[in-house]
């Protein structure tokens, strides 16, 4: 009995430690110019990983290489041990859901229509949406507190509501990995926190790019710092978020303390420093 349970434990730990996503020596070029250079990292199952970096560092490009909008110039991305380009497009969409920064919306789509799209990867061409699936859509809307607006036009929602609807779509998609490209930019502070706590509450692996370093610090298990297309730091917030890193990558003068509520670094910015000609 004991033996069996030991074997079982080892098996499950080895499964846990196998990365759900790993990126190996990834390069991406736009017209000869290297946008991403030699990026390698991996994400373990269940981790909440934040991607940070100044504007133009290549955050969106990296995410696009992961969700197959762009194919890398060289290097590979593996999802559960298999090269992502070896998946059928629909199968990859079943495993990975994406919430983008801004979604153009035209033509009078309702909130339910948008959330229902989460079923697309699983639906065959002649499939009619079943009662169970409608229940599933409503449950997802309930989870993001948008159930009462399910008949409203998507384009008339506020930025935060749109993001919540897109997260509901991702919930319906039932992915193993959720990728979010700056889901909180342009949002009020309240919604920035709300969206991230919502993503965290899903209990799946999340890779999200952030603008707000403190929010990333409070939410993430691990941080990836990109600068000029290169991965300059990778690790737990308390290891990565140092005054040195913040000054060299983000070009700001800071003091890093501990957040009074959560066990995470908290950054205080200093103003009026113009050493490097920036302000």
């Amino acid at each position: 009995m004991v033996r069996v349970s030991i074997v079982h434990t080892t098996a499950s730990t080895s499964l846990d430690s196998a990365p759900i996503l790993s990126v190996e020596q990834l390069y991406w070029h736009a017209n000869e110019k290297a946008i991403l250079q030699d990026i390698s990292f991996s994400i373990a199952e269940g981790e909440f990983v934040g991607l940070l970096g100044p504007n133009g560092a290549g955050k969106s490009t990296l995410l696009r290489c992961i969700y197959r909008f762009l194919s890398p110039s060289s290097g590979n991305v593996f999802f559960q041990g298999k090269n992502i380009w070896q998946y059928r497009q629909k199968d990859y969409a079943k495993a990975l859901a994406v919430v983008l920064q801004e979604s153009p919306a035209h033509f009078n789509l309702s909130v339910t229509d948008v959330v229902g799209l989460g079923l697309l990867p699983k639906s065959s061409v002649w499939h009619r949406t079943s009662k169970e699936e409608i229940i599933q859509i409503n449950a997802a809307l309930e989870q993001v507190a948008m159930l009462d607006k399910r008949e409203q036009a998507f384009e008339q929602l506020s930025g935060g509501e749109k993001q919540r609807v897109l997260i509901a779509r991702a919930i319906v998609q039932q992915p193993k990995l959720l990728v979010m490209d700056e889901p909180t930019s342009h949002l009020d502070v309240k919604y920035q926190i709300q969206i991230m706590e919502l993503a965290k509450s899903l209990g799946i692996t999340v890779l999200a790019s952030f603008h707000d370093l403190n929010l990333a610090s409070a939410m993430c298990d691990n941080l990836l710092i990109l600068d000029n297309g290169q991965l300059v730091a990778n690790g737990a917030p308390r290891k990565v978020l140092t005054t040195d890193m913040l000054s060299s990558v983000f070009d700001v003068c800071t003091e890093v303390n501990r957040h009074p509520q959560v066990d995470a670094p908290h950054i205080t910015y200093y103003y009026g420093y113009r050493e490097n000609g920036h302000d």
Binding site: R68, Q89, L100, A105, F107, N108
Partner: protein, 357 residues
């Protein structure tokens, strides 16, 4: 103040309850009898006086007078059906193009399909020798128009082929440029043609169902049915595309392949219609918008509703074109343009008023 506020709110709730009554199913069920009614009643309009009982006699029995029977079966029925297929087909084609380009102004002639067809016709008339050719060679004329449309479509796909997936805008610009190119070609050829040919071609470019015959219905009808099936089957992919290419890719849609399929299908459908009935504007732009004002585009019945509404609209436009002036026909393109633009402007005005409140 209070009464005004109350009035607005009760008005609003009335509009809401009215809007909630218009479900796709209700709309579809209302449109079916309207379609049947329109298709039958339209047969009674025209130069010869044939009332509904006489027409029904000719349709459903074999006891009608030979002349009436001939008018109904050989002239008015193919004509009415062509109008219906053209209206439905153009509306579906508009729906496809508006969706895959995410451009609310897209219409079936976006990519120079009608100007390509015009070039085909004009060249044919110029080389076959004047207006006599138009009277005698309806089928070859249609073939020339179809060929012209296919040429313009192929050129567009070649020009924008490499950038297809990523840049809808490039494709739209290429389409506009092609339209101008083909229009110029048409003008040059017309400039050196005789006046009779010019008036014949002019009438043709404004659209008419007068040349309808049973054999010419086959190709447009087949393409219409294919388009309807494809749109119904791929309604989720269509909806996904409305939220952007990038988002559609993450939902597992092969965006490049899907867009190419939709462009080719809508172009073939439009080309087959332009070939037999000429260029009829505004229907393909207007009908999808009207349907979207009432119901969501993502519903499974939406393609059917768009098709039926476009068809019914066109059947009545054709009726107007027949009865507006005695002994003469008004080109349908003029009527769709007139009715359509007035309706559309009213709609936009009403929406703006609503927005200002």
């Amino acid at each position: 103040m209070t009464s005004r506020a109350q009035k607005t709110s009760s008005n609003g709730s009335f509009m809401r309850s009215l809007a909630s009554l218009i479900t796709p199913l209700v709309l579809f069920v209302l449109l079916l009898p309207l379609t049947a009614y329109s298709l039958i009643v339209a047969l009674t309009f025209g130069a010869a006086d044939i009332n509904l009982p006489l027409a029904s006699l000719a349709i459903f029995t074999e006891r009608a007078e030979p002349l009436v029977e001939q008018i109904i079966w050989q002239l008015r029925m193919p004509r009415t059906l062509l109008a219906f297929i053209a209206g439905g087909g153009l509306a579906l084609s508009g729906l496809m193009l508006q969706t895959v380009t995410r451009n609310p102004l897209a219409d079936p002639y976006l990519f120079g399909i009608s100007s390509g067809a015009a070039v085909g016709v004009v060249l044919f008339v110029a080389f076959a020798g004047g207006s006599a050719a138009i009277a005698g060679h309806a089928i070859s004329l249609s073939a020339a128009a179809f060929l012209g449309s296919l040429v313009s479509m192929s050129v567009l796909l070649l020009v924008s082929g490499s950038v297809m997936g990523r840049q809808v805008e490039t494709m739209l610009l290429a389409g506009v440029a092609l339209s101008f190119l083909f229009s110029a070609a048409t003008s040059i050829t017309l400039y050196f043609s005789d006046p009779q040919a010019i008036s014949a071609v002019l009438f043709w470019t404004m659209g008419s169902f007068a040349r309808a015959s049973w054999s010419q219905l086959i190709l447009p009808l087949v393409l219409l049915i294919v388009a309807l099936l494809v749109l119904t089957a791929f309604r989720r992919q269509m909806t996904a595309l409305l939220l952007g290419d990038e988002s559609a890719i993450t939902l597992g849609v092969n965006v490049n392949r899907f867009r190419l399929m939709m462009l080719v299908l809508s172009s073939l459908l439009t080309a087959s219609l332009v070939a037999v009935s000429g260029g009829i504007g505004f229907v393909g732009l207007m009908i999808p918008h009207i349907v979207r004002l009432m119901i969501s585009q993502s519903h499974g019945l939406t393609p059917c509703i768009v098709c039926l509404l476009g068809g019914v609209f066109m059947v009545w436009v054709d009726v107007i074109s027949r009865v507006f002036m005695a002994n003469e026909e008004l080109p349908v393109g003029i009527i769709t343009g007139l009715v359509g633009s007035i309706f559309f402007l009213t709609l936009l005005y009403a929406r703006q008023r609503q927005g200002l409140k």
